[in-house]
Symmetry: C2
Subunit: 389 residues, 2 copies
C-alpha cells in the first residue's frame, strides 16, 4: 500500500474486500455467464411496486422526509408483522433504513465499539463481521457443524465464546449460506442465555419467508421475545419482493430506542426517499402473492439443482431448509476461491466461494437457486459435465 | 433513560438530537406555516430528472449494481468536474453514495476513530460533529469571527487547535449556515498547513454553485490541490438539482483509495439504486440551466428578505456571499432555541436556531431563502410585524 491509503484509519484500511465480489470481478464479463453467485433472484421488481414509486415521484415526494420512515410505511410494517406473527405490533417498533445492510450497521453502532466483541455463527453472511471490524470491535466466529442431515449450531459452544467484552450475538435464520433454520426451541434457548448475560441479539430473519417444509415462515425471535428483551431485528425488502437494487430495509427495535435510532439514521443517510417508501408500502400490503410465487419458484429451483448434483458422488451438501442457496462441497478441492474461479472459467457458472462466509465455509461453494428453471437447468447441466470429467 | 437505552454503546446513546429537527417537531403541524428552517428549496425535482428515473425503473434497473456507482454516472461526474474546474478528471476519482451525509460518514470512517480529533469551524452544519462523535472521535470547533462585513476564519487559530490526536480539518465553503465563502488564498493556506502536518482535509463544497458575486462558482480545493494531496470532497445532488429527498451524493477522493472506499460502501448501504443513478446522470449532464435558475431565484430571495429585515434596527447579519441562508441575530435575544420556538408560534415562520450549528451560532437564526418570492415576501412581512412589536 502506498502512502495515501496508509494514512487512513486502520479499521477502514483493513476492512476486507468482499470475497464474493472478488470472484464476480474475476469473471463479470465472461460470455455465456450464468450468475448464481450473488444473493438475488432474476425477476425484476414487479409492476405494482414500481408503479407505486412512479406515483410518489409524480406527486413530488422528492423532499426531505421523516428520518424514521414515513408514518404510512411504519404502519404497514406493523400490520405486516401483525399478520406474520399473529399478535399486535405498533409503528413505533420499526425504523426504515437505506438497506438491510444499513439496518445491520446501525444495529452494530448501537451495541459495539472499540474493544467489544460480537459472537456469530460460522459460516455467515460476511458483511456482519466486516461492519463489526469497521467499528473497531471484534467478530468472534463459532463454527457450526456439518452433517449430510443438516448444519447444526451448538449453543453451549456459542456461549462458551462469551467474554466480559461480548456485547451481542448475531443469529441469521434461515441462514445464508447454509440453509439452516433454527427451531423455536433453539431461539428460546439463545434468548434465555442472552437475557441472563445481558447481551443484545441481532436477529437477521431476512429469509424468514423462504422455507421449504410447507410452513408459512420460519420460527422467529418474535415468537419467543417479551417486552424489554434486547433484540434488534435487521430486515430488507430485497429478497421477498425482488428489490435488491433499491436499497431499502428496516430495523425492528424497542420503541424506547426511537430517538437514538433516529439520530443514527440522521447522521448516516438521513432517511429514505419518500417515493421509494411508497414502493415499499405496496410491497408489504399487496405483495403476499408475489412472495409465495417466489418461494414456490425457489423450491422448484432447489429440487432441480439437487436432482442433477445428486448424480455426482463428488458432491456433498445438507438439503437447505430455508433461504435460497445450495451450499455444497466438491470432493478433492479445498480452496473455494480457486475452485469458484476454475468453475466459472471452465463452465460459465458463477458461484460464490465458501471461504467468503468464514473459516468454516472453506471448501464449499454457494449457488443461488432463486432463478428461472431454464437458467438453473443449463447451469446444472454444465456443472454435471464439469464434475464428470 | 431507562434500562434498554442505557445498555447501548455510549457514543450511540449520546449522539445529539438535531437541534433543527427539534424545532421542526415543535411546530410541524402549525397552520399557515412557512417552513424556512431546513436546507431545501420549494421546487420539486424537475421533470427531466424524474423521467430518467422512470426510464431506469422501466428498464428493470432494480438489481444489485456497482458499489462505487455505475460507470456512466462516474464518467458524468468526471465530465461535470472537468467543466467546472477547467481541467481533466477521471471516473476513478468519484464514488457514488447514498447522500452527501453518507459521503461525510465514509470520509470520517476513513480518517477518525476513538481518541482522534477533527477540527472544524464554528458555526458549521451540525451533522459533521455528530458523525465524528459516533465514531468515538472528538470534534474540535474553532470559532469564526462575526462582523457586519462578513464572517471570517482565523487560520492561525484553526491550526493552533491541532494536537497529536488531530487527523483532519473540515472546511465547508460556501458555508452553511453563515454564507461565508473562502477565497482561493484561504484554501491554499489551509492546504499548505495541512500538508505540512500530514492532516486530511474534508472539503464540503456542496453549495459551490450558490454564490452571489457574479462568478460561476466558489473557489475550490480543486483549484489548489495537487496529486497526492489528502483531500476528501463530500458532495450531494440535493441542493443543485432539487433532489434533497433522493439521498444521493458523491465522494471525490484519490483513486488509490478506491478499494477501501468501495469496502466502506459495501458495509454500509451497498450502493445506490441503478434507476436513481440514471436520474443523477440527467442532473449532471442536462441540469446546468436548472442550477442557474435556482441560483438566480435564491439571489432574488436573499435580496427580498434583506430589504425587509434592513428596516429593523434590531436585526444584525453579514450579507451571505454564498449558500442559501440568512444567518441573523435579533438584538435582545440570547437563546436561539427559545427564540425560534417563539417566532414560529407567534408568526408561523419556521427558522432554525443558530445554537444547532455550534456554540458560536448561539443567538443567531438561520433562514433558508431558496424559496418562492411569494412565500418569502409573506415570511418577511410577518417577521417585520413581529420585530416592530
Amino acid at each position: 500500500m502506498n502512502e495515501l491509503p496508509m494514512s487512513l484509519r486502520k479499521e477502514a484500511r483493513e476492512a476486507p474486500e468482499s470475497g464474493i465480489v472478488e470472484v464476480v470481478n474475476f469473471a463479470r464479463e465472461r460470455e455465456d455467464l450464468i450468475p448464481l453467485w450473488v444473493g438475488e433472484g432474476d425477476l425484476k421488481t414487479p409492476d405494482f411496486i414500481r408503479e407505486a414509486a412512479y406515483l410518489g415521484l409524480d406527486a413530488g415526494e422528492t423532499f426531505y422526509t421523516y428520518q424514521r420512515g414515513i408514518p404510512e410505511l411504519r404502519r404497514a410494517l406493523a400490520d405486516y408483522h401483525s399478520r406474520q406473527y399473529g399478535r399486535g405490533f405498533t409503528q413505533e417498533e420499526f425504523y426504515v433504513t437505506g438497506s438491510g445492510m444499513q439496518a445491520m450497521q446501525i444495529a452494530i453502532q448501537c451495541v459495539a465499539g472499540v474493544g467489544d466483541e460480537v459472537i456469530l455463527h460460522d459460516p455467515a453472511w460476511p458483511n456482519l463481521a466486516a461492519v463489526v471490524g469497521i467499528m473497531g470491535a471484534r467478530a468472534v466466529p463459532v463454527p457450526m457443524r456439518f452433517s449430510a442431515d443438516g448444519w447444526s449450531l451448538d449453543i453451549d459452544r456459542m456461549f462458551d465464546a462469551v467474554t466480559p467484552r461480548t456485547r451481542a450475538i448475531y443469529l441469521n435464520s434461515p441462514c445464508n449460506p447454509t440453509g439452516w433454520v433454527a427451531g423455536r426451541e433453539t431461539l428460546k434457548a439463545v434468548l434465555d442465555r442472552a437475557r441472563q448475560l445481558g447481551l443484545w441479539i441481532i436477529a437477521d430473519e431476512v429469509y424468514s419467508r423462504f422455507v421449504y417444509g410447507g410452513e408459512a415462515r420460519a420460527p422467529s425471535f418474535y415468537d419467543v421475545a417479551e417486552k424489554g428483551d434486547r433484540i434488534l431485528y435487521v430486515n430488507t425488502f430485497s429478497k421477498n419482493w425482488a428489490m435488491t437494487g433499491w436499497r431499502i430495509g428496516w430495523l425492528g427495535a424497542p420503541a424506547e430506542l426511537g430517538q437514538i435510532i433516529e439520530n443514527l439514521i440522521q447522521y448516516s443517510t438521513s432517511g429514505v426517499a419518500g417515493f421509494m417508501q411508497r414502493a415499499a408500502i405496496a410491497a408489504l400490503n399487496d405483495g403476499d402473492n408475489f412472495v409465495e410465487e417466489q418461494v414456490t419458484r425457489a423450491k422448484a429451483g432447489s429440487t432441480l439443482i439437487r436432482e442433477v448434483l445428486d448424480n455426482s458422488e463428488r458432491v456433498e451438501y445438507a438439503p437447505p431448509q430455508g433461504a435460497f442457496y445450495l451450499f455444497f462441497k466438491v470432493m478433492g478441492f479445498d480452496d473455494s476461491r480457486e475452485l469458484a474461479k476454475t468453475i466459472v472459467s471452465q463452465t460459465g457458472v458463477g458461484l460464490a466461494p465458501g471461504a467468503a462466509f468464514g473459516p468454516a465455509g472453506e471448501g464449499y461453494l454457494r449457488l443461488c437457486f432463486a432463478r428461472s428453471s431454464r437458467d438453473l437447468a443449463q447451469a446444472a447441466e454444465r456443472l454435471q459435465g464439469w464434475l464428470s470429467r
